[in-house]
Symmetry: D2
């Protein structure tokens, strides 16, 4: 499944990039392939249990870094036949005549 995570720590001021870089470091430590975009981070996961663990890791870490509140927006695209980040982008670009 493809998942986009948006993680918004609340109560730590206006600038959040420091916290987002921590989230990316966690993804790297877990060996999760990711694509950063200006509004979120897209990952491929095998199972919902993996998503639960990842979110818990992020929460623990940001709590440790001082965040009293965290707002998450998680979008998930699950397909029975499977999918990948590359496949999704390619199939759009092909129809756009750009690949």
């Amino acid at each position: 499944m493809i998942v986009e995570l948006s993680v918004v720590p609340i109560g730590v001021g206006e600038s959040l990039s420091k916290y987002i870089s921590d989230v990316l470091r966690l993804l790297e430590e877990r060996g999760v392939k990711y694509q950063l975009n200006p509004m979120g981070t897209v990952v491929e996961l095998e199972a919902f249990s993996e998503l639960g663990e990842l979110l818990e890791d992020i929460r623990k870490h940001l709590e440790m870094k001082g965040a009293p509140r965290i707002y998450f927006v998680v979008k998930i695209d699950w397909r029975k036949k499977g999918t990948s980040m590359e496949y999704k982008i390619e199939s759009v670009k092909k129809k756009l005549g750009k690949s």
Copy 2:
């Protein structure tokens, strides 16, 4: 933590209420307290692992019901000091002078 789930089965036609009622039945079977609204279902969960299990249950069930693809939007509000669905609504209404 407070979680809003929006579950959108794709490839099963335009009307989705049958699938949403199945999701609510799953919540009831699991003993999860929920509030249905026109754009999602709000629940209180103890842990991210519980969220992972719940999403997996929903996915399995909707796949069984014939959905080849499922799109989820999950919003999560976690607070260190704890929170509840009632508390969130009440604190807004109080400031609005309505409780």
Copy 3:
């Protein structure tokens, strides 16, 4: 169309209920019918231009109240045949055997 707004002012501390009550007051002043839930506010709108105006009103107001940054999550359900907040809830409850 049915729209759920989640408005998250950033850089104004951990407690946000004061700002949410301001958003609801704006909706009341504009005569927009709304349903508050613990994770957002659901409204019925006629057109996307109305959504644009509403979001701009909210932004202006929260900026005036001191928010240096605002994060919005907006979910929209548009149907050609029309829909309503009540209809969506009723059609799910009917299938659940609860209406």
Copy 4:
């Protein structure tokens, strides 16, 4: 402001890439700079009225292409001091030691 659009036509089958490529073509015709990712499309907009117009254009077009229902998820990051897609990515990468 930075905006991520996720557009999900409902009732047109499982494969959606054809519709997404149409959305991108609309963005190009309007001269809106965009970044496609596997879960959405990120754009920079000047005003909420521009967002309203863009969503209305997308709706009209997808209705014409046969979609009886459209689900949108729109995330917006507005900052008083201004921001850009590049700035957001760069400030995260810098903290990650990758730029």
